[in-house]
Amino acid sequence: MHRKWYGSGKHQDEILPSNTYRVTIFSHGDPISGFFSHARMNHARMSQHRPPSPSQKLLRTGRPGLSGLLALACALVLLLITPALRAQDWVKTGTGLGVEKVRLAVADFKPSSSDPQNDALLKTFNDTLWNDLDVSGVVELVSKSFYPLQVPGQPVDVNIPAWSAPPPNAAMLAFGSFGVAGGKLTVQGWLYDVKNTASPQVLGKQYTDTPSDDAARVIAHKFADEIILRLGGGIPGIAESKIYFVSDRSGKKEIWVMDYDGSNQRQVTRLGSISLSPRISPDGSRLAFSSLTKTGWEIMMYSVDLNRLVSFPHMGGTNLSPAWSPDGLKLAFSSSRGGSPEIYIADANGANLRSMTANKGPDVSPIWNRKTGAQIAYVSGATGLPQVYTMETDGTGQQRMTDQGYAVSPSWAPSGQFLVLAWIRKYGPGDPGALDLYLMDIASKQWVQLTHDGGRNDSPSWAPDGRHIVFQSSRSGKEEIWMMLADGTKLRQLTFTGRNTQPNWSWK
């Protein structure tokens, strides 16, 4: 992030001397494409090694007659469940969740001083590091109950076979030391490939900062991201990303921000009105949102650097749901200044306003293809119930993506390949269905349902790694912010106070 969220302490990190900086087996020339090809290869290889299914066994060994019928029945069942399996495959491949997960042991860091501050800060550090790696989706953490009793704090302490052999049976080991001394916090962290006894060191880092809870968290995030970058196919981790959202906990709906793991929640706007739809700019410097002013709903612009509102022209009519182009130069939003809510595009300062749609129904919630910047997805009620559409950024090529029901709140994946959207697929009298999140492959319009656990699920937003999605859900009884992996697993509730809605994940 461009911005420091902790204290005023000077922050440094440096690479520890290492002549065995082994990253070649994990890194790829082009992180995305290299990664995807790796993932597909991986998938193909796994298919080859898959043990024969019961029906295949039957087909090979069974006698004609009853067993033939059985085989037919099994084949039918397989046919029925195969689409779901295939869907899971493309989700995992496309989101980078299909890589075989590395078994990683994360030893609690060892205190390297007896400063009274040390215990509390070390706990923050260990908890944060563990959580970052646990939710990353790219490693399988080895349960701490399997760890050797001797936990290393330095490379000389590492008993490699004790980690690589069962019970831990780890492929990788993260460990290090943590100490406050002379008003300075020093953290040394290593990542070891414990299957490679000759040159195990993959990573060695040292961080220093002024001791504080924030600093302990930030250093844990930085070290976690270094590990995830190396073990997750070269895609940078998200541990230092932010999530903007709407909260009513101050009595009014205002814009708030938190760390991606739910810590550090703080209020951004204090307008005392209703502020909605926060959208952080790609560089993280400006926050666009919609707020009810004396003259109606207008797009507002907040400078994160200056910590105050900056001017943005009032458009008249109802102006909603701003969206940044991936180059940060343009904003798309919904405006009824011409009579009906349509999608408009303007420069980031509000100039050069032009309308993109001209429908009978309300058009709202635009989102750019953040990979190409050349298409926009949006919601339109042109044919009755709202549906998700895509179009080119000049308004041509409008294409309906959803075939039925009530479809809203699209968010475009960083890879450009997917939309995630909120959808009541079966809407109708006596069949109200549920508002759930769906992942759609844009090219094929194939979809897979991501949430199944009740409540209204809405306002999804992709993490910059394309592996995580943050959204709002009422499953706990009231609207709160949740995050999950893009295949619907690893659900985490991030907010607990007041009603919290419309999360927007920072671009990096």
């Binding site: 909603l320 809510p341 309300p362 919601v379 009620g381 119930l385 709140s409 809405d458």
Partner: protein
């Protein structure tokens, strides 16, 4: 006689001698001072609904209370609003006994208010009595047939009161997304405005605003409540 005198003298001498030898007895403790207390009310006469201030001072008291108020500090003051004439009774207790004080507040009925003058209803009153809201179907922003009579009634009133300016608020039920509902509410408000303008109400008198599902009239999750929330709500503009 002599014997008696000698005996008496001896007794006295012995007594004097014995007295000299013994330490003087401690002086008897002084009797604890009796508490004092005073209580006053200011003013001592009020009208119903007004307040008066009770003020009290005590000395040498460890336990001070006022009937109807309870335990109080040794010195203090407190506003009271009796509804009827009341005698306040303070008791101050201390080691030296107890002391009481009273103060009376006389409450008189206020003079009857002047007979209310029948005020002419304001434009705002007439507006809220006569103008009806317009209700919508789910996900619709078109004015349905059964709402035309409301629109006609509104037009009649608004054309008769041409000086009234007003706002049409578009509201939606709680289902669906925040953003889509705000856009839908905008369409509903505009639909009501257009119907009024088409029937001759000046467009410059009408503002529109969408509240989407931000300010529901009813907060239950059932169709009766949702219908209450799907409306164009007409609001008098001061």
């Amino acid at each position: 006689m002599f014997v008696l005198a000698v005996t008496l003298g001896a007794i006295l001498a012995l007594g004097a001698c014995a007295k000299k030898k013994q330490p003087p007895p401690p002086p008897p403790p002084p009797a604890p001072p009796a508490p004092t207390a005073s209580l006053s009310a200011n003013p001592s006469s009020i009208q119903t609904g007004q307040s008066a201030s009770l003020t009290w001072q005590t000395t040498n008291a460890t336990d001070v209370s006022i009937d109807g108020i309870g335990a109080v500090q040794a010195n203090g003051s407190q506003p009271v609003t009796p509804t009827d004439s009341t005698t306040y009774h303070l008791t101050a207790k201390g080691a030296g006994g107890s002391q009481e004080a009273t103060a009376r507040i006389t409450v008189t009925q206020p003079p009857p208010p002047p007979a209310p003058v029948a005020a002419a209803p304001t434009d705002e009153d007439l507006f809220s009595q006569n103008v009806k809201d317009v209700y919508f179907d789910y996900d619709q922003a078109e004015i349905r047939g059964d709402q035309q009579s409301s629109v006609l009634g509104d037009v009649q009133f608004l054309n008769q009161h041409a000086s009234i300016n007003f706002t049409v608020e578009g509201h939606c039920d709680e289902r669906g997304s925040t953003e889509y509902n705000l856009a839908l509410g905008d369409k509903r408000a505009t639909a009501v405005k257009n119907a009024l303008v088409a029937a001759g109400v000046g467009a410059s008198r009408i503002k529109t605003i969408s509240y989407g599902k931000e300010k529901p009239f009813c907060s239950e999750s059932n169709e009766a409540c949702w219908q209450q929330n799907r409306r164009g709500h007409l609001v008098y503009q001061r």
